[in-house]
Amino acid sequence: MEGISQGRNEAGRTIDGICQPSELHRIPGIPPSRHRNRGSSGVGFTNVIIPHSSGTTRSVGLLSLAVLSFGLNRTFGSEAISPEHLDFFEKKIRPVLVEHCYECHDAGQGKIKGGLALTSKNAIAHGGDSGPMLTTGDPETSLLIKAVRYKDRDFQMPPRSPLPTEAVRDLEKWITMGAPDPRNEEVVAKTSSGGMSPEEGRNFWSFQKRSEISLPSLPSDPPVTNPVDAFIRFAQREKGLTPSLPAEKEAWIRRVTFDLTGLPPTPEEVDVFLKDTSPEAREKTVDRLLDSPHYGVRWGRHWLDVARYADSNGLDENLAFGNAWRYRDYVFKAFNEDKPFDRFLIEQLAGDLLPGRNEETLVATGFLALGARVLAEPDRAKLEMDVIDEQLDTLGKTFLGLTLGCARCHDHKFDPILQSDYYSLAAIFRNTSNFDETKTGAIHHWFEHKLEDHGTAAELKDWDKKIEEARKAASGFKSKTEGEIRGKARAKAVDYLVAAVGFDPDTSLDRVEEIAADFDLHPRILYHTRRHLGVNRDAPVFKAWWEYQAKGDLEGLRAFYEDKFEKAVLLFSDLQKKDPKIAVLPDADLEVYRAELFDNAGFLAVPAKPEHAFDEIALAEYDRLEEEARVLESAAPDHPAAMGVADVPKIVDTLPIHIRGSHLNLGDSVPRAFPAVFSSGEAAFPEKASGRLELAKWMADPDHPLTARVIVNRVWRWHFGQGLVGSMENFGPLGETPSHPELLDWLANWFVDEGWSIKKLNRLILLSETYGMSSTPAGERYAEIDPENRFLSFFPIRRLEAEEVRDAILAVSGRLDGEQGGKTIPLRNRQMVFNHTSKDHTSYDSLRRTAYLPVVRNNLYDWLQLFDFPDPTMPTGHRVSTTIAPQALIMLNAPLAIDSSAAFARRLLSSAGNDDDRIHLAWQLAFGRSPSAAEAESASSFLVSSADLEERWTLFCHSLFASNQFIYLN
């Protein structure tokens, strides 16, 4: 009964795909939290006849079956069924079950939606995820009857249409008579191949503690000095791979400069490096780059990928995250200062709970607040659980390489994570404030920490007031203008009725405009009048109109309505003088005319859209006022605050398991705890705090099997384009296995020993021979042995990432603005990015580094979106690199590329020297090297053209930006 327990909560992702309905094999009637037999999986896809037993040992969620029949005989014994009962079952019950239920609840076919099979007596008795299906003898308390009666909207079956009334009555009767059922087979369910038990999980590589790793010994001359190379070379030898030669110095400095700063090396930097023949030349370069403030922008941006950073909510409603930038700047600073990663983790998950908490640690908790949320969700309980789910899923993927979200509805299908583990973690986050009490209409506001306001409170209040006034000015103008139009139309009401005789309702508005002009009427109102007459043909008020129209008697029509309207209006105003509260005329006939005349939705209705209703001048004024209010709001300073989380005042210690992820179907409560696979003991959680700090500290423990491995693997990926474990966010059984397991563990050990320093790890890797290899393979053999180059026999060529593409264009053209930090989204906090108008006011005119451009979820900047910027709603440690035609279009036609080409051209033209020198300089700026003779030659001949000087050079520069060499790193 899948749909049954769900109501409107389908908890989407967590059961996507892999858990096809046909695979949801849970033993009916066994709530997920109980009767689990840990470690007894592996039954496979077979029908199993279950011996009677009372096996209620704790089990893994996947139904390893055995458990089925406890106590069955006591309640539903297999005593002989009477012929009458048998007859009733066969005639009335079985056909209903077969026709209406078996499609989803047939154990024999492996269809057990909601964990429920209806194909045997026992199966029905045990029920599904929602519990036993019937109480023998009592239809009123039987779930089966509750479902088929179709009274509870959140609990009804069959899903598409109710059963015939007769069938419902038969089922009730059947239960009253004791639910006699000849189907005694105890075939209950096929079992799932399912996930690992926690015990099995402890034997899986990524859940095991790291051990000491010694370096492989290599007969090498000269000896390998960098441990990274020792592991890599060793594996290559084993595979029979020959590493490529060292890269050219030009290639290496371009590679490492983009890698650490996201920017191209300047010709001067290249020159210094090429001339430095000392053995320390590379070290000096790496140290210089690690010290550059641009390092934090580039490497902090990597972190923002996995923190799914954005400057707007952009799920159902797109409100600006006007304070998200504080988290972004915190991250960039943390990387520049080389904040130890364990501390970095703790601050992001529990910075508000640290003993020495300060503004910086509060800002860090923005990590938990940045997720995309369905802010207009009217069901608060669902919303809260959805947010917790997003937080768990994100922290699992980001820090632990675990897809925790998969266990929201059921035990994880692959990993050793139980549904009870999920709700134990969720219990910690249930103690977290995620929302403020304020709202914008139906849109909930996320929680923010108020920061010290430095005396700006009064000024901000003033802004709030001004914005409010500007909005009122616009809406006031709109109603005033509409009132005027309405008044004017009413004064000519009869003219509208007369003019409407002249055309039929299908007449084009163009033609109606001509007629309206003759009578000096509003064309859209007249257009509406005619259609209104058509729709309300039978209304008494228009009876006369239709009669006169049929006769073609315009004069009569005019006289009739003039008389009625005039009388009605005069009489009403007389009465009003006596009784201002009067609402209708006592004369029912006249009232019909008065009411129609004053009905805003009547035949004189003013078009709801200002573009349709207003004349040009009024429209321009209205647009101006609206724009003024919008611009005022966009420019207004924010109340100083940081997105983040805080503990709720009343701490709960447990949370019920949500059966199939539904907040409408609660199971047993579980206490706050870490997932069972990591320990067998119970962790102690404080009574008066959420437990987030304890969770964070546990995750940041040097011995945690996942944390250090996951971050080391990320760093490796950010240098080489692929991880040692290819699946960055999945270290579970369905993830990839490490290509170099010893190297991964050695690096993790070293990283922790060196104080969780990212920069030290960067340095170690960058100074390796492995990183210094050429991107040209030493031979063809790799294509057979290692086509994906996981063993790094040559350096993987890579396309620049979205930010690097734009930053490089700006840097090379000399336009880049190097300013760092601060708010960059041009909207006030919580302002709508888009409202119903779909007008895009986001501007990307800034020339600052791309990492500072607003990340507008739902409407990413073209340059980001087209060049594979990751979806900012989910953690992404591995950006893909696609090649599609729209990338070429933007490169060829977008203003950024065109304007920068012109600037690049001017830069060249203002330099000293002749055209050859300029071509030379262009190559150095754009590609970090000198042109070959052939390249210089083709450049020269391209520059011969009839276009004027600047235009020629602009085209030339544009071509360099568009070339492969510009956008690829060797």
Partner: protein, 461 residues
């Protein structure tokens, strides 16, 4: 899984394969790599989705409710949902009359007199229902199957499953989409390959006559100058390719520039309606300023359809008066229907006369319907519990009313079709099995229909 899909997936996850993959997929039928890969014979080759943003009222358009007339002004004699968007008032009858049309005699209200003429081609699903009562959630649900997370949109799944039929145009085009309420997510490819992303032309705030694909033309350069520039770029590119012959991505990029160059011509050609006859223009209402804007969108849809674009979405989302009449139902719906009725009928007739309706599935609907109860005095609230979506052409039965809401039109009751079922049925008509059209991402196989969805077999022709 289908071997081709599997291959696609493999390529999609390897660093080297990706560029190559996207490139081939753009070439579509020419290389044969991405030839259609149906699971079963398809009844429809492409989809036109007419999206009425805001939630048109079913009880005022295609789902007449006599009891609503009778009990107008009374308290609803049924339980309201546990969660409603706004406070619900008493029953509110429809301001419009329903009349029967066609051989089928199906009733259509006076809001849609032109579409009514095509009623024998319509399969009116009166039992649609969704899960979310707010615009954003409901629009995401309808477009992507999820109102909780960012997921690939229906059009992206279709393109992923069937590839392209035109090498010079995008396979999934959305004309004047709304940026609100899910916005780009409603045509985004999420974790599916980038090529599956919908290509927007303008937005709801752009008059359709000005709607263009971004960056489709250089603001000043002539094609010949650009050709010369491109030749120079390619000369440079070939040199870098000689240095790195093993890097497939470099070859792909070389070709992507040629394709882009061709798109610069193909797209304006598709949009140039100057060759359409006067009769055709009239058919779509281009001769009337009221219908001109949406009429042009519909006409463009037909032109893309002819050119083999796989999934075309046409959005009606007035910037001020969407189909969201919390008040002034009569005025708002009158205006909106007047803008779309003629163009939609024109599209259906035009597709039919050109033989395109045979294998083009037209789908009409909003993110939800509206309540039969009043909001305020003269409006209706959001109602995801029961509403109408209709389909035409592409293998569905015409002249059929399928499913039903209750006597007042609040809840879908008979032959209920959840949004997941609608998705499953659309994929089925396209020859795709919704349970087998999967993509592995973050360690799991994802589907448009998640773990849900049933094909409504009885609406299949």
């Amino acid at each position: 899984m289908n071997p081709l899909l599997q291959r696609r997936q493999f390529l999609g996850t390897t660093a080297l394969g990706f560029g190559q993959l996207a490139f081939h997929s753009l070439l579509g039928s020419e290389t044969g790599v991405m030839s259609p890969t149906s699971h079963h014979p398809a009844r429809a080759k492409r989809v036109i989705f007419l999206f009425m943003k805001g939630g048109p009222s079913h009880v005022d358009t295609f789902d007449p409710k006599p009891l609503l007339d009778r009990d107008h002004g009374k308290e609803p004699p049924f339980d309201l949902p546990r969660v409603t968007f706004a406070k619900q008032g008493n029953l509110l009858k429809s301001p419009w009359k329903f009349r029967q049309y066609g051989e089928s005699g199906l009733p259509v209200s006076d809001l849609f007199p032109n579409v009514a003429q095509c009623v024998d081609d319509l399969c009116i699903i009166r039992s649609a229902h969704g899960t979310n009562p707010a615009h954003g959630g409901a629009a995401l649900k309808l477009h992507t199957g999820s109102d909780t997370f960012v997921r690939p949109s229906m059009g992206s799944w279709v393109v992923y499953g069937l590839g392209s039929e035109n090498r010079n145009l995008p396979s999934f085009i959305t004309i004047c989409p709304t940026l609100a309420h899910g916005g780009v997510n409603n045509w985004g490819s999420a974790f599916l390959p980038q090529r599956c992303q919908g290509t927007p032309m303008g937005t709801a705030s752009t008059p359709s006559v000005n709607a263009k694909v971004n960056h489709i033309a250089h603001p000043s350069l002539g094609q010949d100058v650009q050709r010369r520039q491109l030749d120079f770029v390619q000369q440079l590119n070939r040199r870098s390719l000689e240095e790195n012959p093993h890097a497939e991505a470099l070859t792909a990029r070389l070709e992507s520039f040629e394709l882009a160059y061709r798109m610069q011509t193909a797209m304006p050609d598709a949009q140039d309606i100057s060759g359409e006859t006067e009769a055709t223009r009239k058919l779509y209402g281009l001769d009337n300023p009221v219908t001109e804007n949406f009429g042009r969108q519909c006409l463009l849809a037909r032109r893309f359809c002819e050119r083999g674009v796989r999934f075309i979405q046409v959005t009606h989302s007035d910037t001020e008066v969407q189909w969201d009449q919390h008040s002034d139902l009569y005025q708002g719906h009158t205006k909106n229907a007047a803008e779309v009725d003629k163009p939609i009928a024109g599209l259906l007739k035009d597709l039919k006369s050109r033989g395109l309706l045979e294998d083009t599935l037209v789908v009409w609907g909003g993110e939800f319907g509206r309540t039969p109860t009043a909001q305020g005095t003269n409006g209706r609230d959001h109602n995801p519990h029961g509403f109408t979506i209709w389909m035409a052409g592409g293998g569905v039965k015409g002249g059929l009313a399928y499913g039903a809401t209750d006597d007042y039109g609040y809840y879908a009751e008979r032959d209920k079709m959840h949004v997941h079922d609608i998705h499953a049925t659309i994929l089925h008509l396209l020859g795709l099995n919704h349970e087998r059209l999967t993509f592995r991402h973050a360690g799991r196989d994802f589907r448009l229909t998640d773990v849900h969805g049933n094909v409504a077999k009885s609406i299949l022709a």
